[in-house]
C-alpha cells in the first residue's frame, strides 16, 4: 500500500462519514460543522490529484465563505425548528431508497467507462497547469466567454442577495 493510497482511503472515509452526519444530524449547526469537515476532505483530495490551485480555492471559497454563510443563516433562523425532533420528512425512506438506487446505478454505469482502472498518467515536466489555465481563461478562443459570464453571474447574485434581504424601513 503506497502512502498516497493510505491517505486517500483515510480522507475518503472521513469525508463520507462526515457527509453522512451532515444529512442525518439533528442539530443543524452540527450539520454545518460536519459540512466544513467534508469540504476540507475534498480539498485534501484535490491535493492528491495534483490540482493544488483547486485545493486552495476550495478552502477560500467553500470553507472561508460559504460555510460561514451557512452558519450565519442557521443562527438567524434558529428559533423555529426544534433541535431535538426529527429532522426528516415523513417519507424519508423513499429518499434513502432513491439515493441507494442512484448510487448503484452510477457505479454500474461507471464500470463501463474506458480506463476505469487506469493509473494516473505522468504529468509532463514543462507544462504548468496553473499558467495554462490562466492563459485559457482569458483568451478569446479559449474560455473567455464562460469566465466573463461567471463574473456577471456573481455580480447579479450579489445584487440579488442584497436586494432580497433588504429590510425596508417602515
Amino acid at each position: 500500500m503506497a502512502p498516497d493510497q493510505i491517505i486517500f482511503i483515510l480522507v475518503a472515509i472521513i469525508s463520507l462519514v462526515a457527509a453522512l452526519f451532515v444529512v442525518t444530524s439533528r442539530n443543524l449547526i452540527h450539520s454545518a460543522f460536519w459540512l466544513i469537515l467534508t469540504l476540507f476532505g475534498v480539498a485534501v483530495l484535490y491535493v492528491l490529484l495534483q490540482a493544488g490551485f483547486f485545493s486552495v480555492v476550495q478552502v477560500i471559497v467553500y470553507i472561508g465563505a460559504i460555510s460561514i454563510l451557512f452558519i450565519f443563516a442557521v443562527m438567524l433562523t434558529r428559533n423555529v425548528m426544534q433541535d431535538t425532533g426529527s429532522q426528516n420528512n415523513a417519507n424519508w425512506w423513499v429518499g434513502a431508497l432513491i439515493a441507494l438506487v442512484f448510487f448503484g446505478g452510477l457505479t454500474y454505469m461507471l464500470l463501463g467507462v474506458p480506463g476505469f482502472d487506469a493509473k494516473a498518467p505522468e504529468m509532463q515536466a514543462g507544462i504548468d497547469p496553473l499558467r495554462q489555465l490562466g492563459m485559457e481563461l482569458v483568451s478569446p478562443d479559449g474560455y473567455l466567454l464562460p469566465f466573463e459570464l461567471a463574473s456577471v453571474l456573481l455580480v447579479a447574485a450579489m445584487i440579488g442577495a442584497i436586494y432580497v434581504s433588504w429590510e425596508k424601513k417602515r
Binding site: F54, P121, A157, V164
Partner: protein, 102 residues
Amino acid sequence: MIPLSWYLVFAAAMFSIGLFGVLSRKNAIAILMGIELMLNAVNVNLIAFWRYRAVTGIAGQAFAIIVFAVAAAEVAVGLSLIISIYRRRKTVVADDIHMLEG
C-alpha cells in the same frame, strides 16, 4: 497508484448522500447543504477526469472553476431567499412554504 475508479466511486457516493439530504430533510437550509455536497462531488469527478484522461488540456479545470463560481452564487441567493421567507412567514420548513400550490 490510485486508480481512477476510487475517485469516481467516492464522487458517486457523495452525490448519493447529497441526494438523500435533499430529498428527505425538512429544513430548507439543510436541503441547501445537500446541494452543496452534490456540487462538490461533481467537482471531484471533473478534476479526476481531467487528471487521468486529459492532463494536457484545460477543459476539466475551466469547467470546475465555473462550477465553483456558480455554487457560490447559488448559495448566496438561496440563503438570502430563505432568510427573507423566514422574516415573512416565520418558518423555514420546506413543506410549509406552499403558497404557489394550485
